[in-house]
């Protein structure tokens, strides 16, 4: 079913969504925030540009944005899928613990901060273009993949992976020239890593109409922390 959200406030949109069928298209979206906050059984397509905190606490719903998205997409999301056919703003996937965020274009600052994983819940964010500064800060789990497609080789800006203590960040191509903290190791992705990446890229390539083999036809670099307890030695009992 189609809902024209032109001029509607965010609370009205979410109310309509809660009452709607499972498959919904929102038309005329222009900056309304908090769309689909905490929702689970919905399949939502959005024409236009949703505002901040799209899909916060998302709990299984699927969201496709046919355009760009703004800040704080998928904040603390638990499950589900968010597909952005454009660029995404700052702080995407903050503290997400499950589900998928696929971005065709670039991500802003602070993407994937404090992503975490637990047992079979492993969140994944794939950024087609490049990522801004502070990518994956405090990352505690989950996987971020930065592909650098159509970016003239640019992958990520300054200070990625600061405070990282779990999870993985994959970069397509040579290791980025950004300054990484000393407790993060950068290595060439292994065979096993490549198998994992391939599994994730199949769906991504299909959604955005890329050829998966072209994406995979490059070396990948993987960033991991060298310890789960990087701050262990910092303290003395008093």
């Amino acid at each position: 079913m189609m809902i024209d959200v032109t001029g509607l406030e965010f609370n009205e949109i979410n109310q309509k969504l809660r009452e709607s069928d499972n498959k919904v298209i929102l038309q005329g979206c222009l900056g309304q925030r908090f769309i689909a906050s905490g929702m689970k059984d919905k399949n939502i397509a959005i024409d236009g540009i949703p505002g901040n905190a799209l899909g916060a606490y998302l709990n299984g719903a699927s969201i496709t944005v046919n355009g760009n998205a703004q800040d704080a997409v998928g904040d603390t999301m638990n499950d589900g899928k968010i597909i952005i056919h454009g660029d995404i703003g700052d702080a995407a996937g903050y503290a997400m613990r499950g589900g998928k965020i696929y971005i065709k274009g670039n991500a802003g600052y602070r993407a994937g901060i404090h992503m975490k994983e637990y047992q079979d819940k492993v969140p994944i964010m794939i950024i087609g273009g490049s990522a801004g500064s502070f990518l994956g800060e405090y990352q505690a789990g989950g996987v971020i993949v930065v592909l650098g497609l159509n970016t003239n080789g640019k992958l990520v800006s300054n200070f990625p992976c600061t405070g990282m203590h779990g999870g993985k960040v994959y970069f397509r191509g040579e290791p980025p020239k950004s300054v990484f903290p000393k407790n993060v190791c950068l290595k060439l992705a292994t065979q096993e890593d490549m198998k994992y990446i391939e599994k994730q890229i199949v769906e991504y390539a299909e959604i955005f109409g890329y050829n998966k083999d072209e994406i995979l036809n490059a070396p990948f670099t993987v960033a991991t922390p060298d310890s789960n307890n990087p701050y262990k030695q910092m303290y003395v009992a008093n």
Partner: protein
Amino acid sequence: MALLFYPEFEVVRNENRCIACRVCERQCANEVHTIDSESGLMLSDETKCVNCQRCVSLCPTRALKIVKSDCTFRENANWQDDTIKEIYKQAHSGGVLLSSMGNPKPFPVYWDKILINASQVTNPSIDPLREPMETKVFLGKKPSRIERDEKGNIKFKLPPQLELSMPVMFSAMSYGSISYNAHKSLATAAEELGIYYNTGEGGLHEDFYVYGENTIVQVASGRFGVHEGYLKAGAAVEIKMGQGAKPGIGGHLPGTKIVGDVSRTRMIPEGSDAISPAPHHDIYSIEDLRQLVYSLKEATEYKKPIIVKVAAVHNIAAIASGIARSGADIIAIDGFRGGTGAAPTRIRDNVGIPVELALAAVDKRLRDEGIRNNVSLVVGGSIRSASDVVKAVALGADACYVATAALLALGCHLCRTCQTGKCNWGIATQREELVKRLNPEIGKEHLVNLMVAWRHEIKELMGGMGINSVEVLRGNRLMLRGIGLTEKELEILGISHAGE
């Protein structure tokens, strides 16, 4: 290796009384006590003693006491014992000093410099034994005016409220920093008392969802254990921006405490550090805070009040004014004497301000700006007694948060070594054999006793003033006088000096 310094405490064992039953040995997780197999005598290694008094309490013949060592460095008002020892510790480790529980330094405690009024002759006091006294309070946004429909009936549609049988709640302590049995005691006591306890930032254990109606669930920068079910389980959601014991810095539960259920409840792997970044990295302004407040309201469909908890810091009045405009329903202010399971010593002892001053400043500012009804105010950070509660309410608080007092009720002896995870009282530990020392049934009973007693005292104090409800006492600063305070302190507290 040479001793850095002589141990802080001495274990004094009365050999005439000691029967070498080895209870002390079994009770001490710090392994202070051992038996000498040859002589059959008990020995003690006081370098390991933290003065938690567990052995003293359980010694069946009262053969033990722990005393402060009188072996000290040469007296020096500037370079005091603790200061010198801290230098030695850091010089040998290169570590940041880490402490537990609230600021122990001799800063002024304003509660102890405020006196409460009583009625004499010109207005009658009320005897709570024979007259009804209302201690119930509601927390949440209140309408600023009465609205009526066309028939003249009052439109009665309040934003969501928390109903408390008395103006006290148990403040945030995470599962992980304290034990399962401690959480269970708090949850069951809150349910019986008709108040609330707070999960802290470590998620909500699956066994405690049944106490959801008396639970405040917390969302902190690490977002541990936060998911839709958790948000919906609680009666309110608290956004933790800061904590009185460590304003401006984040939390860090070491991987050694992330075991078993704690790992499952926080939803992070065993052994992995639980790091809460200092700021929420999606909140750099009041506008950003508003965004988190409303995303939580949307996720919980506007059915639950949203609390924003901040540490009492400089300019707290302006900060609270911003929060009151962010859509938050309740502001919780945590003073610099608030407790913690672990905080860098320097931060705990030097950052933040007393909650008494913060509360008075915030209440005044919100009233001056005409937005006091936008929010309820909850204050914590060392509320130690019913008279502290009464003074806080008269200074403008809607309710108080207590944590250290609740831990004391559970058996804590304030040895201030929570960070070791070896709490002999079964509170700040995850070691099974220690946790089971705290019986949650008895823990609940003690918490209920404490609060029932405080409730009686609150009624008596109010009755003495001729006031019969907490609602009427709130913000009634005429009932307070300062003693030994400067003009400036009185001005900030908004009270007169005793004798005026």
